[in-house]
C-alpha cells in the first residue's frame, strides 16, 4: 500500500451560473488544477479565505460532488459518491433534529444496518466526546459546541479511515473551540486516523496539523503546502509557534494577493 491515502489529480470544478451553458467564461471556477496527496494517518489542514473553494474541495473528497475534470482517488480507487469510509463533519447544523443525541450518534450504525452488532459503541462514543448525561437530549436543547461534538462522534462511530472536517468549530466561541481542538488531537493520537480539516483560522491549523495547505482565492488553487515542524504537544504561546504563525500569515498574504484582492484584515 502506498503511503498516500487520498490522491487528487488535476481537479477542476466550475459552478455553472443559472441559464448559462457550462463554460469557464460564464461560471464560477471554484477550483483550478488541484493536485494533492494526503498521507495515511496525517492531520492535514486546508486554509484560505472564505469563498476560495475549501468546502468545494472537501465535498469532492467526500464524494458529495463531482469534478468537471481530473480524478479523486482513495487507496487508488476512484471516489464515487459518499462512503462511510470517509466520515464528514459539516460546518454546522447537520444533526437530525428529530433524533436524540444518542440516536444521532447511532444513525450511521442504523443506516448501515449494523446497529445490533455495534450497539455498545454508542455509549462509548458519547463518553468519548464528553456528553454523558445528554443521551436523551434533542439537538435544540444542547449548545452549538455540544452539537459539533455529537457530529464528530456520529462520523467516528462508523470507524472511517479518513475524517473530513469542514470548519467544524467556525461558529463556536474560543473556549469551546479550544476544547474541541484538544478532543480532535486526542482522537488523532489514539488511532491515527487521517484527518483533513478545512479552516480559516491559522492558529487552529498550526495547533493541529502535520501539514497545512494554503489556498489562493478565485479561482481556488493550491498556493503552497507548509510542513509544521513542531513537537506533538504544542504551546500556542511558544516562540516556535508564534514564529511559524508569522511565517504562515506572510505566505497567506501573498497567496491572497495572488487572488483577486479579498480584504484579508478579517482573517488576521
Amino acid at each position: 500500500m502506498s503511503d498516500s491515502i487520498i490522491e487528487i489529480r488535476n481537479v477542476n470544478r466550475v459552478y455553472a451560473l443559472e441559464d448559462h451553458p457550462l463554460d469557464e467564461a460564464s461560471g464560477v471556477q471554484a477550483l483550478r488544477d488541484i493536485n494533492l496527496k494526503v498521507k495515511r494517518g496525517e492531520f492535514l489542514s486546508i486554509i484560505g479565505p472564505s469563498g476560495c473553494g475549501k468546502t468545494t474541495l472537501l465535498r469532492l473528497i467526500g464524494g458529495l460532488d463531482e469534478p468537471q475534470a481530473g480524478d479523486l482517488l482513495m487507496d487508488g480507487e476512484k471516489i464515487k459518491g459518499p462512503d462511510p469510509k470517509r466520515g464528514y463533519v459539516f460546518q454546522q447544523g447537520s444533526l437530525f433534529p428529530w433524533l436524540t443525541v444518542e440516536n444521532n450518534i447511532a444513525a450511521g450504525l442504523r443506516a448501515r444496518g449494523v446497529y445490533r452488532q455495534y450497539k455498545a459503541q454508542v455509549s462509548k462514543f458519547i463518553h468519548m466526546v464528553g456528553l454523558d448525561g445528554f443521551e436523551k437530549s434533542y439537538p435544540h436543547q444542547i449548545s452549538g459546541g455540544m452539537a459539533q461534538r455529537v457530529a464528530i462522534a456520529r462520523a467516528l462511530i462508523n470507524d472511517p479511515e479518513v475524517l473530513l472536517l469542514d470548519e467544524p468549530m467556525g461558529a463556536l466561541d474560543s473556549f469551546t473551540r479550544a476544547d474541541i481542538q484538544d478532543k480532535l488531537l486526542e482522537i488523532h493520537r489514539e488511532d491515527h486516523k487521517t484527518m483533513i480539516l478545512v479552516t480559516h483560522d491559522v492558529d487552529e491549523a498550526i495547533y493541529l496539523s502535520d501539514r497545512i495547505v494554503i489556498m489562493t482565492p478565485r479561482p481556488g488553487k493550491i498556493h503552497e503546502i507548509v510542513n509544521v515542524r513542531l513537537p506533538e504537544r504544542r504551546e500556542r504561546t511558544s516562540n516556535d509557534f508564534l514564529e511559524l504563525r508569522k511565517d504562515i500569515m506572510k505566505r497567506f498574504h501573498s497567496a491572497s494577493a495572488e487572488g483577486s484582492g479579498v480584504d484579508m484584515a478579517a482573517y488576521i
Partner: protein, 333 residues
Amino acid sequence: MNMREIPVKKVGRAAVVTSLGFLIAILGNLFIPQVAELKIEQYQWGPFLFDLNSFYRTVLGGIILIYLIAGVLAVWKPERRPKFVKQQWFRFAMGIVLLAYDIAGTKLRITPQPFFPGPAEVLKTFMDDGPYLMQNTLYSLRLFAVGFGIGIVLGLVTGVIIGWFPKAYYWLYPVIRITGVIPAVAWMPFALTIFPNAFSSAVFLMAICSWFPIASQTAFGIQTTEKSQFEAARTLGAKNSYLVFHVAIPHAMPQIFNGIQSACGNSFTFLVIAEMMGQPGGLGYYINISKIWAIYGQVFAAIVVMAILFSVIIAVLNEIKAYVLRWQKGTFV
C-alpha cells in the same frame, strides 16, 4: 414562561368559583317551582330511582366532581394550575347559563317548544334512549375510524411517492390538486352507485376527503427536506430507503400532522352529512329520525355526544402530535 408558581390558595379559590356556578344551577333546579305544565316522569336506573330533575342535578353534581378532581390534579401538578385558575370564571358562567336555560326551558317553558326543550329534557335522552344512542355513537365511531384510517394510509403513501419521485409529482400532483378542491359531497351519487352498500360508500367519501390534505402536506414536507440532511445521511452510509424513512418522513412529520388535522375536520363534517343522507345508523341518522318524531331533546343529546366525541378525538390527535413532535423547538398546540 411563568416565573412564579401559582399558590395552592388560588387553586382552591378557583375550585370554589368553578363549583359555585354549577351548585347555583343545582339549587335553582331544586327550589324554583315548576310554573309551566310538564309531566315529571320517574325512571328506574339500576337500583336508583330518578326523575327528570334529579337526573339533571346528578349530572351537574358529576360535573362539579370532575372539576374538583381537576383541581386536586392542579394542586399536585403545578403546570396544570394556570389553565385551571384561568378558566374559573368561564366555568362559573356555564353554571349560570345552565340555570337560565333551566328556568326558561323547563320551569317556565318560554323557549319555543318543542324545538328548545330544557337541559333536563335533553339529558333525559340518555336514560330514555341511552342504549340506542350508544349504538348509533358506535356506528359513527366505526365509520369514522375506517374512513379516516383508510384516508390516512392512502394519503401518506401517495404523499411520500409524490414527494419523493419527481416523475410522480409531475403526473399525479395536478390530479390531487383538482380532486382536492372538489368537495367530497359531490362524489356522493357516484359513490352510492359503485359501492355495494351505504357504509362502504361513506367510507370511500371520507377517505377521499382525508386523502387530499394528507397527501399534499406529506409531499410538501418531503420536498422541503434540506439537501444537507440527505448529504449528512449519505456520508454515514445511508441508502435510499434510509433517506426516505429516516430522513424525509421524520422531516415531514409536522406537515403530515397538519394534513391529518385538517383531514380530521373534513371527516367530521362528512361523517355527519353522510349519516344524514342515507346511513342506517350513526349520530347524524339519530338526529334525523329524532327530528322526524319531533323529539328535539334527542337532537340536542346527539349534538352533545358529537361535541364530546369529536373533542376527545381532537385531543387524542393533539397528544399524539405532541409526542411525535417532541423534538421540535418551543411549544405548540
